[in-house]
Every structure is written in structure tokens, then in C-alpha cells.
Amino acid sequence: MTALSVRLSGKVYASRTPGCDHKALGSLEFSIPEGQLTCILGPSGCGKTTLLNIMSGLDPDMEGTVRVGDGAPDGHAIGYMFQTPRLLDWLSVIDNIRLVMDKEAIRSGRAERLLKQMRLEDVMDAFPNRLSGGMQRRVALARAFAVNPGVLLMDEPFISLDAPVANRLRHLLLEIWSARPTTILFVTHDLHEALYLADRVLFMSSSPGRIVLDLAVDLRRPRDPNDPAIDELAHSLLREHPKLLAGLAKGSSEEA
């Protein structure tokens, strides 16, 4: 079953000065099967967030089609974890989660279960701005899973955290992902992160973003972030495509 299919012929940000329109995305086509954890990796400014905003429906102004599966009958089609936690500072942690749930889900105790899974049961009644950055991300992650999304979009959610905290969060994400199978589209610019997390990595070019390489990651799960196999894979990948992280794969033309 396909959870998400995207076919874009481009995305242009109109400028007030004529002739200076910014072409953020080139032509893009991919589909994501249900339950897959896919990373989208590209240099900064290549239009990754633009792509997520289009898929989430926040930005309806584009040329092309985005098809999102229905997801679970009791869930939302789309969940979105933003780059910053975007929690409501005036609601307690648990109320932040409950806010996005319907009455039935609240009564079932789903919010409490999720927070427990995130090891946040001790701060359920705290206000988010009292928590550390890592804990705030965990609340945001719990909120994203609270709506039982058909597709969960994640926009570099562990950026600006120190390495150990980010590592713990990645581990937590994989843990909750295996407990609650969900289709995830995870945007990052960190190759190691992508190879550690993903079933598949889509490499994007620099702006206007296109997909230059579609890579299946066959590493066995559960994975260890320090597993040398990840580094090996990264090295062999970069040997084959030296400019991959700048958005160029072997065989793709520079001017495209």
C-alpha cells in the first residue's frame, strides 16, 4: 500500500520584483510505501521544508499532485513535527498532547501512555518552558504520534541539540516507531543520521531541489548509532558520489 505519493513539476515563490521569482523546487516524483521510514537528505536551502509544507497541505500553492493515504480510521492523515518543538507554553505537557486528540482518545488514556513511552510521566503537569530542549522535543514527538498519523512528517526535529541528547531522541524515535508502525518522512542534512534511521534515503540536489539518488538502506534493525557499518556505508556512498552532500550524484548534470 502506498501511504504517500508526490508528483511535482515545480514550486516557485513569486517575488515582488518581476523576474526575480525564486524556484524552490524542481520536478520531483516519488512514492512512499506504508510503514517505511524514509529520510530526505539535501544541502541546506534545497527546499526540504518547502517540500514538507507542500505535502502537509500548509502550502497549497504548487504545480503537481500530492496524494496522501487515509491512514488509520481513528487517526489523522498527516502528523508534522517541526524544526522547533512549537509547544504551547501556557498548557501543561499533558494538555499539549490532549489538545490535538478527540474526546474518545483522551478518555482511553492514550496521552498518558504516550508520555510514559517517552519517559515523560514525571513532568506531565509541568509547563513546557520549564523543560530542557530534549524533553520539549519528546513532548512534540508524543504530540505527533498522538493523532495516530497516516504519514508523519519530520523536519530536522533533532537539530540544535547536543549529540548525546539527539542520539537518545533518535533511539526513542525508532523505539516508538517499531511499537507503533507509522509511515515517516524525515528530513535532515546529516548523512549519518539518515543512514542510522532510514529504510530508504532520497538525496536532493541544491535549489531548485530535485531527487538525485534514491537509496535503499539495508542495515539490519535494531541498529546501533556507533555501528561501523553505518560509517562504511557512508564512506562507500561518498566514494561513489563525492559531491552527494552538495546535491550532486554521479551522472546527474551540474546545470540541471
Binding site: 489523522h76 498527516i78 517541526f82 512549537r86 504551547l88 507554553d89 501556557w90 498548557l91 520549564r130
Partner: protein, 256 residues
């Protein structure tokens, strides 16, 4: 512990406030004693007169009538002003459409509004309250518009992604960001409105504190004028301390 320290500091705050008021009373008493004229009665005389008016006169009745007008005008002005402020802060067209009205409303003298309301709608309570509300609405609009402009769009995106109902979006995401501005509007509103209510009563009503003041003014009864004034100031102070401030503490308790 923190709560204890907090309550101690509010206790000493309170002591300081009371001390400062007592000091003012002493100065007043000294000047009155030195001047020794019926044009400036001392605090004791005024207090005595207040008791007389309260228990043998109509002080409670007139204060009640004025208070009712203040409350109604306040509620009407806050609701209408908030609605317009939110719309104007959010939508540029709306802002441009009504900005001229706003400038007019801010600059038209209170006295003129009162006169016109009495002339057009008769010497009625409705006209009186309407005049007061019209005077206050523009300042509420200006304050709330400022708040609406500062509302965090990222959080509104959260509401959109998680498909929150308009009710949840308004009460859990939008209004909490406006509370500081609403509190400012409410504070200044209370002070402004009761002063205008007195003018309205003086010009066209036959009850209320403003009417009583005009009567005592004709008799040059300064003691009674001060007694009525201080009785009402006391009530406004009570509203501020017993209602507005606790509400503010409650609404902003999440802040660091």
C-alpha cells in the same frame, strides 16, 4: 519553599503599598490642618462624611448605579474592541478599511460623543452607556491589534496541521497569546471608563456618583464630594486587587 518566598515578598510588597498610602494620608491631613478651611477637609472629616452618606444617605445606591454602568460599558467595549482589534491585526484589508475610523475615534473628544449620544438617543441609560463604550472602544482596538499582530504564526500552523476546531484554536492558541494585551486594555479601560461614566452622569442622568457630585458641587460641599470620590476609588481599587490581579496571575502563571 519558592511559594513561601513568593508569598513573603508579596506580603512585604503589600506593606510597602499600605505604608505609601498612609504617608499620603498624613500629608493630606497636615495640609488640611494648616490650611484650616472648609474648602479642604482633612481625611477624618471625609471618612466621617463617607460613613454618614453610607448609613443615613444614598451612597450605596448611587455607587451601585454607577458601578453597574461601568461594568456594562466595560464589557461592551472590551468585546467589541477585542473583536475589531483581532480582525484588524490579522487582516490587512480590514486594517486599512477601519484605520481611519480608529484615528477618528481616538481623537474625538469624550464630551462630544456624550453630547451627541444624548441628543440623538435621548437622556437614557442606553445612551449613557453607549457614549462611554464608544469612548473606550478605540483604545481597546489599538491595544488588541498590537497583540494580534504579534501572534505567532508558527503556532497557528500547529493548529492547522492538527486540525484543531476554530474553538480550540481561538481559546487555546490565539487568545492565550493576546492575554497580556487584553490585561493592559482591561486595566486602562477600568480607570478610563469610570471617569467618563461620571461625566456622563453629570451631564444627563439623575442618579449615580457623577450626579451626586454635581449636586454637592452646587452646594460647595467639598467634604461630600471627596467622600463619594474616595468611596468609588476604593471600589475600583478593590476590583483591581481582588479580581484583575488574581486573574492576571492565573493567566500568566506559566511564564518563567
Amino acid at each position: 519553599m519558592r511559594r513561601l518566598i513568593a508569598s513573603l515578598s508579596t506580603a512585604s510588597d503589600l506593606a510597602l503599598r499600605l505604608l505609601s498610602l498612609a504617608f499620603l494620608l498624613v500629608i493630606w491631613g497636615l495640609i488640611a490642618a494648616l490650611a484650616d478651611t472648609p474648602m479642604l477637609p482633612g481625611p477624618g472629616m471625609v471618612a466621617l462624611s463617607m460613613f454618614e452618606h453610607a448609613f443615613t444617605g444614598d451612597l450605596f445606591y448611587h455607587v451601585g448605579v454607577t458601578l453597574r454602568r461601568v461594568v456594562i460599558a466595560f464589557v461592551v467595549a472590551m468585546i467589541i474592541g477585542t473583536a475589531f482589534g483581532m480582525l484588524m491585526g490579522r487582516q490587512r484589508q480590514f486594517d486599512m478599511l477601519f484605520d481611519g475610523w480608529l484615528v477618528l475615534g481616538l481623537n474625538i473628544p469624550a464630551l462630544v460623543v456624550i453630547m451627541l449620544c444624548y441628543v440623538w438617543f435621548g437622556l437614557t441609560d442606553v445612551a449613557a452607556i453607549l457614549a462611554v463604550a464608544i469612548n473606550k472602544i478605540p483604545t481597546v482596538v489599538v491595544t488588541v491589534r498590537e497583540g494580534a499582530r504579534a501572534v505567532n504564526r508558527d503556532l497557528l500552523q500547529v493548529a492547522e496541521i492538527y486540525r484543531l476546531s476554530w474553538r480550540k484554536t481561538l481559546f487555546k492558541i490565539y487568545l492565550p497569546q493576546l492575554y497580556p494585551y487584553l490585561m493592559v486594555a482591561a486595566r486602562s479601560g477600568l480607570a478610563l471608563i469610570w471617569k467618563i461614566v461620571l461625566v456622563v452622569e453629570l451631564l444627563g442622568r439623575s442618579d449615580g456618583v457623577g450626579f451626586q457630585l454635581s449636586v454637592y458641587f452646587q452646594f460647595f460641599d467639598i467634604t461630600s464630594i471627596l467622600a463619594y470620590t474616595l468611596a468609588f476609588v476604593g471600589i475600583v481599587l478593590f476590583i483591581e486587587l481582588a479580581m484583575v490581579r488574581p486573574l492576571e496571575v492565573r493567566l500568566t502563571r506559566w511564564r518563567l
